[in-house]
């Protein structure tokens, strides 16, 4: 799921789409007819909301609709940001392989800042504790073999701020 070009879809969003985004980015109403409830709040028909949300899902503006488990509360307390230095020419291929591990929740290619920051691939690794995260990082390292030119794992020690993205 690569996604770099963005602007075409965003231009196609109209005022009602944006109202739907604002009404649902905090969550869907937990009622039997959630889309009709969103529609009622916006003064439009349920069909309008259903059609527009389906279109946003089809075009990737909505990544998915569903539940986000709170990994911390559910016992996945070791969350490490693993960062990897790999050959730029191989970075996309290797990034896809890293992203395919089921314990990786996000994987990205990002810019280096030499000499102080050499890593160009980032992968969030989840486990029950730090030891399990390190075991999983070792699996990534084993997959990469000598294409791993160096890696580190940055554990979070404190959440300093966490507000939901408010994007519309």
């Amino acid at each position: 799921m690569d996604s770099d070009s963005t602007s075409d879809q965003s231009r196609a969003l109209d005022q009602l789409d944006r109202q739907i985004v604002r009404a649902t980015q905090g969550g869907l109403p937990l009622v039997e007819r959630p889309y009709a409830e969103v529609a009622r709040r916006l003064g439009v028909s349920a069909d309008d909301v259903i059609r527009r949300m389906q279109r946003m899902l089809d075009s990737g503006i909505i990544r998915r609709i569903g539940a986000v488990p709170n990994h911390y509360t559910l016992g996945f307390r070791g969350n490490g940001m693993s960062v990897w230095d790999v050959d730029d020419a191989k970075a996309d291929e290797l990034g896809r392989k890293i992203g395919a591990f089921d314990f990786v929740s996000h994987a990205y290619r990002r810019p280096r800042y030499l000499p102080e920051w050499r890593y160009n691939l980032f992968a969030m690794v989840h486990g029950k504790d730090r030891d399990e995260v390190m075991e999983k990082v070792a699996l990534i390292a084993a997959m990469l073999g000598d294409q791993d030119r160096g890696h580190e794992v940055l554990f979070s020690t404190r959440i300093l701020k966490k507000t939901g993205l408010r994007i519309a």
Binding site: M1, T24, I65, P69, E116, I167
Partner: protein, 147 residues
């Protein structure tokens, strides 16, 4: 959390239907009542076992700017810089990490151009270089916990 709760989370990590009675459809797949599914979701949200339930929007495709940024903050100056950085409304998340690059935050701005402007404002206000690490390529975003 019981086996039914786990089955609900595993099922709803994948997708949720867009139709008139989506809870009824998912409940039928799971072999439970629609009202039970709704009540369990309410309960799991209240207990913070779920952090969200609903659509996940793609910020950049909505026209906004998004970037991961890092600062090398010396420990002695950490609380001052933390206060300054968190004071920017564009800073959505901010984490302390056990590394020389000790502060990592996500900037979410109304337009892509604003990312660079806010970065410079943060540099001026903190006195430290902000390393802007926007994603150049996204390989996977999702959660696939098998509970």
């Amino acid at each position: 959390m019981d086996a039914t709760d786990r089955a609900i989370i595993n099922r709803l990590q994948l997708s949720f239907p867009i139709c008139e009675r989506p809870f009824r459809q998912v409940a039928a797949e799971l072999g439970i009542e629609e009202s039970d599914l709704i009540a369990r979701l309410e309960s799991m949200l209240a207990r913070k076992q779920l952090s969200r339930f609903g659509p996940m929007y793609h910020a950049e495709r909505l026209g906004g700017g998004l970037s991961l940024c890092a600062i090398r903050v010396p420990e002695a100056d950490f609380e001052r810089v933390n206060t300054v950085v968190n004071g920017f409304p564009e800073v959505a998340h901010n984490y302390a990490r056990d590394h020389e690059f000790s502060m990592w935050f996500v900037l979410a701005t109304e337009t892509p151009d604003r990312v660079d402007e806010v970065l410079r404002e943060i540099e001026q206000a903190t006195g430290y270089q902000v390393y802007n690490m926007p994603k150049q390529r996204e390989f996977f975003v999702g959660l696939r916990f098998d509970l």
